[in-house]
């Protein structure tokens, strides 16, 4: 094995990508939201100057329950979110005030080009000869929004 290499070799796993591609967009969003809510909640608890134990006391729960809430696996009910918001003295919406990101595993770029006969002779500054559109789509649920659409 080579001993002088610098950064680690990149390894692409067919097993990982196969399982990621099986995941629906809804499942991805659920995982992402649970983890981001948990991360943001930890930040809010820290910003309030509370330890996990002190926060547990405020919401009248065992610290082990708080560990579960912060693990990024917990499916919060609206009631629990209200209790948390009251304990931290923030609006409920604040618990979701993080930048939403969506991880897309597969992107398909479709480029189509249509050549049209110029309405006016070449050489005219009003020439219109090409329509090009770009689209992004995920493998599971196409997000068919035009990135850009222009006529030159």
């Amino acid at each position: 094995m080579n001993k002088k290499q610098k950064a680690a070799k990149k390894y692409s796993s067919a097993l990982i990508s196969g399982l990621l591609n099986e995941t629906t967009t809804a499942e991805k969003l659920q995982v992402s939201t649970k983890m981001q809510v948990a991360a943001h909640l930890q930040d809010l608890i820290s910003a309030a100057g509370l330890s996990k134990g002190a926060f547990a006391e405020k919401v009248n729960k065992n610290p082990s329950e708080i560990t579960k809430w912060l693990s990024g696996t917990h499916n919060f009910t609206v009631d629990t979110l209200c209790e948390i918001a009251l304990a931290l003295n923030v609006p409920v919406a604040e618990l979701f005030a993080f930048e939403q990101t969506q991880v897309i595993n597969k992107v398909q770029i479709v480029v189509s080009s249509k050549v049209t006969r110029p309405a006016v002779p070449f050489g005219s500054p009003l020439i219109t000869c090409c329509d090009t559109q770009f689209y992004f789509a995920t493998s599971k649920q196409p997000l068919l929004f035009p990135l850009t659409s222009f006529t030159s």
């Binding site: 094995m1 080579n2 001993k3 002088k4 290499q5 610098k6 950064a7 680690a8 070799k9 990149k10 390894y11 692409s12 796993s13 097993l15 990982i16 990508s17 399982l19 990621l20 099986e22 995941t23 499942e27 991805k28 995982v31 992402s32 983890m35 981001q36 948990a38 991360a39 930890q42 560990t67 579960k68 912060l70 693990s71 990024g72 696996t73 990101t101 991880v103 595993n105």
Partner: protein
């Protein structure tokens, strides 16, 4: 054990780099073996684990709150990915702050198992990751391995051999 640290492309992102190990003569990582061994019986759980790891890599970073810490020796970074009470699979890893994780193997933690020492398979997997952590710590101390300028990637000699 001779092995090499590799970066898992699908899981790494701007928030955390996700690594695993390939043993000499093998084509799969320890994490791939973990998937292969358990995907038949625990497909949903494995998918959930992979998606959480990817989320850490791309969005949240490997925050301590997502792990069950202190599974190894004090300060060695060995931990397990947090598993819900109704889930069985336990995955061992080494966490380097929020910016890097090295994934090992794991297995089902049956009800009644309090610690990895109570289960043969978990003992084997936990001891493997503890030993890897020890090797990496020594290399970091010796300066053979170092963190990249942005502090999120391991660099240097990432191949390990028994004969050193």
């Amino acid at each position: 054990m001779n092995y090499e640290i590799v970066e898992l492309e699908e899981l790494s992102g701007c928030k955390a780099t996700v690594y695993s190990i390939i043993k000499e003569g093998d084509r799969l990582t320890l994490f791939d073996h973990f998937i292969k061994e358990h995907v038949g019986q625990y497909r949903e759980e494995i998918r959930f684990i992979i998606n959480r790891l990817q989320e850490m890599g791309k969005t949240t970073g490997a925050r301590e709150q997502f792990f069950k810490c202190n599974e190894g020796k004090p300060g060695d970074g060995v931990c397990a990915l947090y598993d819900e009470p109704d889930k069985e699979l336990r995955l061992y890893c080494i966490r380097y702050g929020k910016v890097a994780i090295l994934l090992g193997g794991g297995g089902p933690k049956k009800r009644g198992t309090k610690a990895w020492q109570d289960d043969k398979k978990l003992t084997k997997e936990a001891q493997t990751i503890i030993s890897i952590s020890n090797d990496i710590t020594n290399r970091l101390k010796e300066g053979e391995i170092y963190w990249s300028a942005n502090g999120s990637q391991l660099s240097g000699n990432l191949n390990f051999s028994d004969h050193e």
